[in-house]
Structure formats: structure tokens, C-alpha cells
């Protein structure tokens, strides 16, 4: 098999696997900081997808890269606010266990 470049599917598979690992961590973590890390993993998977499509399908007008820049911006804002909420929760509850944050449970 003679290939002149890495196939697009390889990047897509890596990003799919990364996204699913992120979802698994989001569902199964007890520590709130680890939940935030899983969200960052999922955002990175989406970014890899956007970059791969931008490079293989739209390599003249690279709009996927511009979208990736915006996703990185939103991820930074999300991390800052998420960790501030976490600190505030920790101050009130003295724990970071996800199972104890059930204030909105009906």
C-alpha cells in the first residue's frame, strides 16, 4: 500500500477514542477536579477533529483552524469559571466528592 500522507481516518479515530475516554471519565469520576479534566479532554478531541477536517478538506480557506482558536478561548474561560465554582463548593461543603453535591436533587 502506497500512501502519500497520513489518512484522515487515523486522526478521526484518535479523536473519537479521546472523546469516549473523556465521557467515561466524566461519568465515573468521584473527584470534581477530575471531571473538569475530562471535559478538557473532550474539548481537545473536538479540536483534533476540526483541525483534521480543516487540513484535509478545506486546506485553502482554513476555517477549521479559526474555529479551533475560538474553542480554545471558550475552554480557557470554562476552566477558570469551573475551578472558581469548585473552590466555592469546597469552601461550603469541605469535600470534592461528586456524590455529595446533591443540592439540586429532587
Amino acid at each position: 500500500m502506497n500512501l502519500e500522507s497520513i489518512p484522515l481516518q487515523a486522526f478521526l479515530i484518535v479523536s473519537s477514542a479521546l472523546f469516549c475516554i473523556g465521557i467515561w471519565g466524566l461519568l465515573n469520576s468521584r473527584n470534581a477536579v477530575r471531571v473538569l479534566m475530562s471535559i478538557e479532554l473532550m474539548l481537545n478531541a473536538v479540536n483534533i477533529n476540526l483541525m483534521a477536517f480543516s487540513s484535509y478538506i478545506d486546506n485553502n480557506l482554513i476555517q477549521g483552524q479559526v474555529f479551533t482558536i475560538f474553542v480554545i478561548t471558550v475552554a480557557a474561560a470554562e476552566a477558570a469559571v469551573g475551578l472558581a465554582i469548585l473552590l466555592s463548593l469546597y469552601r461550603n461543603r469541605v469535600t470534592v466528592d461528586m456524590e455529595s453535591f446533591n443540592l439540586l436533587k429532587w
Binding site: I21, G25, I57, V66, T73, A76, A84, R91
Partner: protein, 199 residues
């Protein structure tokens, strides 16, 4: 891309293995500190994947924002809340694990099936702009993506103000319940948690 194809394949394989094994380590390791440092490694490897895709500017932004800001923020949060605590055991943890793992594997198989069966209409690599991508991103940001660019600045300002408001500790001079002056140095240690778990 001027690197030989064999080198590209080797780089891609190594970087993807680092990304996937590091991500597994992030979600599976016991110690949250190891997870945070592995997360930094994952971010760096994703930046390497961007370099393989001819996007040097986004790779630099990834390193600066994710490794330099988000990862450091996460490590600081771990330092602030890292207390050894005995987690309460959950009754149906086994069934929960089984259900979530099966959901993730199903989603993964669906995504991989879509990735492999769909025939993407690839553009020819001849009209690739390659190293000029930074110039093109700048043109996009100041012409057709000008409004999102400006809105992003407002979003960052709002996130900054929101983080300050949420994380600030309100120091009171008087105790609310007794009216006595509060010893400011002991305010963290002596205060009862406001929202203790009643059950």
C-alpha cells in the same frame, strides 16, 4: 509538509499513543496530581498532532493556553482542595460502571464506523496553503470572523469577573449568629460548613 512520509507516520503513531495512554491515565489513576501532570503531556502531544497537520499557530496557541494556563490552573485547584478524604461507598457502583462503560464503547464503535465508512471528499493537496496558515487565520479574524473575535473578548472579560466573584471569600467583621467580632486568622478553620449534608 516537507518531512518524509515515514517520519510523519512514526511521529503520528507515537503522538497518538501518548495522547490515548495519557488520557486513560488521566481518568484511571488514583492520584489526582499524577492525572494533572499527565493531562499536560496529553495537551503537548495534541499540539504535536497540530504541527503534523501544518498548523503551527494553533499548536503554539494550544501550548500557551492549555499547558500554560489551564493546566497550571488545574494544578493550583488541586493544591487548594487536595484533602485526603474517605469516600463514601456507593451501593450500585458495579452496575453504574458496567452501564457507563458499555455506553462509551457503543458510542466509540458508532463513531469509528462513521469514520471508516463515510467517503470524505478530500481536496487536493496542491492548493494547500501550508506555512501561510498564520496569515490566513489573521485575515479571517479581522474580516469575516470579526464579530466572534470581539464577542470572545467580552466572554473572557465576563469569565474573569465571574471567576473573581465566585472564588472570593467574603470576610465579615462580625459573626452573623453571635454578633461577636471574628478572629480573622481562624476564619477558615473555625467556621462550620454552611451546607452540610443532612442525610
Amino acid at each position: 509538509m516537507s518531512i518524509a512520509i515515514t517520519t510523519q507516520f512514526i511521529c503520528f503513531t507515537v503522538l497518538s499513543l501518548v495522547v490515548l495512554i495519557g488520557a486513560l491515565g488521566v481518568v484511571l489513576l488514583e492520584s489526582i496530581v499524577y492525572s494533572a501532570f499527565l493531562l499536560g503531556g496529553v495537551f503537548m502531544s495534541v499540539a504535536g498532532l497540530y504541527l503534523l497537520l501544518n498548523a503551527s499557530f494553533v499548536a503554539a496557541a494550544q501550548v500557551l493556553v492549555y499547558v500554560g494556563a489551564v493546566n497550571v490552573l488545574i494544578i493550583f485547584a488541586i493544591m487548594l482542595v487536595n484533602k485526603k478524604e474517605d469516600l463514601k461507598p456507593i451501593n450500585d457502583i458495579k452496575s453504574r460502571r458496567v452501564i457507563s462503560t458499555s455506553i462509551c464503547l457503543t458510542l466509540l464503535s458508532l463513531l469509528i464506523r462513521v469514520d471508516l465508512t463515510k467517503v470524505w471528499s478530500l481536496s487536493s493537496p496542491q492548493n494547500s496553503i501550508g506555512e501561510e496558515s498564520t496569515i490566513r487565520i489573521g485575515e479571517h479574524l479581522f474580516s469575516d470572523y470579526l464579530l466572534p473575535f470581539e464577542v470572545a473578548s467580552v466572554l473572557l472579560l465576563m469569565a474573569m469577573i465571574g471567576a473573581i466573584v465566585l472564588a472570593r471569600r467574603d470576610v465579615m467583621s462580625k459573626d452573623i449568629s453571635t454578633g461577636l467580632p471574628v478572629d480573622q486568622e481562624l476564619i477558615e478553620k473555625s467556621s462550620e460548613p454552611l451546607l452540610t449534608n443532612k442525610n
